[in-house]
Amino acid sequence: MAEKEIDQLLVERVQRGDKHAFDLLVSKYQRKLGRLISRFVRDPAEAEDVTQDAFIKAYRALPGFRGDSAFYTWLYRIGINTAKNHLLANKRRPPTSTPFDAEESESFEDAGLLHEVSTPENELMSKQVVDVVQASLQQLPEDLRSALTLREIEGLSYEEIASVMNCPIGTVRSRIFRAREAVAENLRPLLETSKGNRW
């Protein structure tokens, strides 16, 4: 089952009236969508508001989503349109110097082009989260670290990872889970301390 199919299962649940399924989609895509919108809306507080608006618009439009394209492509398109409309409503021109569309956003990797201004609090928290994740990854045993890296950064399937690491798929599944759980164990206390500003 590909990622697109997981999203489709969640979309169909929302279309059957399950609002909770939409929360899972928000948890999954909020940072990707926020990152995309921040290319258009430079103020971080505004970008967060626009990201929320984009999700609400997507929720309202979901009954009409037919699955012809991937959910995230459709969502990113809504995000771009919402950001552009926000800028036009505030009499500001959307950036046109770097043509950009939803499909490109999937492969956009040049962080240097991102214009991000964050509040000191958010910036500190972001840094702490990233530091904890990176430090936890480094502390992992080699086999767990490799499995998680191949999955999350290289995007390999379990079958491909099993081939690379020369082990059964069940072992890959177990290693990736144990790696995630080890990192999560270190993250939870940090996330608990910022309950008012959930992560």
Binding site: M1, A2, E3, I6, Q8, L10, E12, V14, Q15, R16, G17, K19, H20, A21, D23, L24, V26, S27, K28, Q30, R31, K32, G34, R35, P44, E48, T51, Q52, F55, I56, Y59, R60, L62, P63, G67, A111, L114, E116, S126, V129, V130, V133, Q134, T149, R151, E152, I153, Y158, R173, F177, R180, E181, A184, L187, R188, L191, S194, N197, R198, W199
Partner: protein, 164 residues
């Protein structure tokens, strides 16, 4: 449940397992949190420059005011079922047509044809074009006259090119 969530977000569960797990996550707030943290870990590894605070609580709060959306049943599965039904119906119609056509030839004719055709073939090879008038005049006595419809004329028609 955490290990299943980990496998689910990597696309390594079957559809029915995923559906069952989503039902479980719906009932278990901790499981929802695990889903969120595992995705946060992935995002922190892939795009460490853009990790911001969690918007899902605020979006969820705003969605309290939104009406529940409902859409027609999933098209994909409906379409799949319709295709299967149409294929099955087409196969049944094809079988029925072939059966009906085979019944148009009386059951006793087929064995006779099977026995007589090999004997006719060498004879027809020796027939000269000048014999056509004779054959036309006496074709009702030909064994092939037992055949239904226009099949009895097939042999006569096949001789015209040789006559020229």
């Amino acid at each position: 449940m955490r290990q299943e969530i980990s496998a689910l977000m990597d696309g390594e569960l079957f559809d029915d397992e995923a559906e069952a797990l989503f039902d479980g996550v719906r009932r278990d707030q901790d499981a929802h949190q695990d889903w969120a943290i595992y995705h946060l870990i992935g995002d922190a590894l892939r795009q460490p420059e853009h990790i911001h605070c969690d918007l899902s609580a605020r979006v969820s709060e705003r969605m309290q005011d939104e009406p529940v959306v409902m859409a027609p049943r999933a098209r994909a599965s409906t379409q799949r079922l319709r295709n299967i039904a149409l294929s099955a119906a087409a196969s049944l119609v094809a079988v029925a047509v072939v059966s009906w056509m085979s019944l148009q030839i009386s059951p006793e004719v087929a064995p006779q044809l099977a026995m007589k055709q090999p004997a006719l073939s060498p004879a027809s090879a020796r027939i000269q074009p000048k014999s056509n008038d004779y054959l036309m005049a006496h074709h009702e006595f030909s064994p092939s006259s037992e055949m239904n419809g226009g099949a009895s004329y097939i042999r006569t028609v096949s001789y015209y090119p040789e006559e020229k």
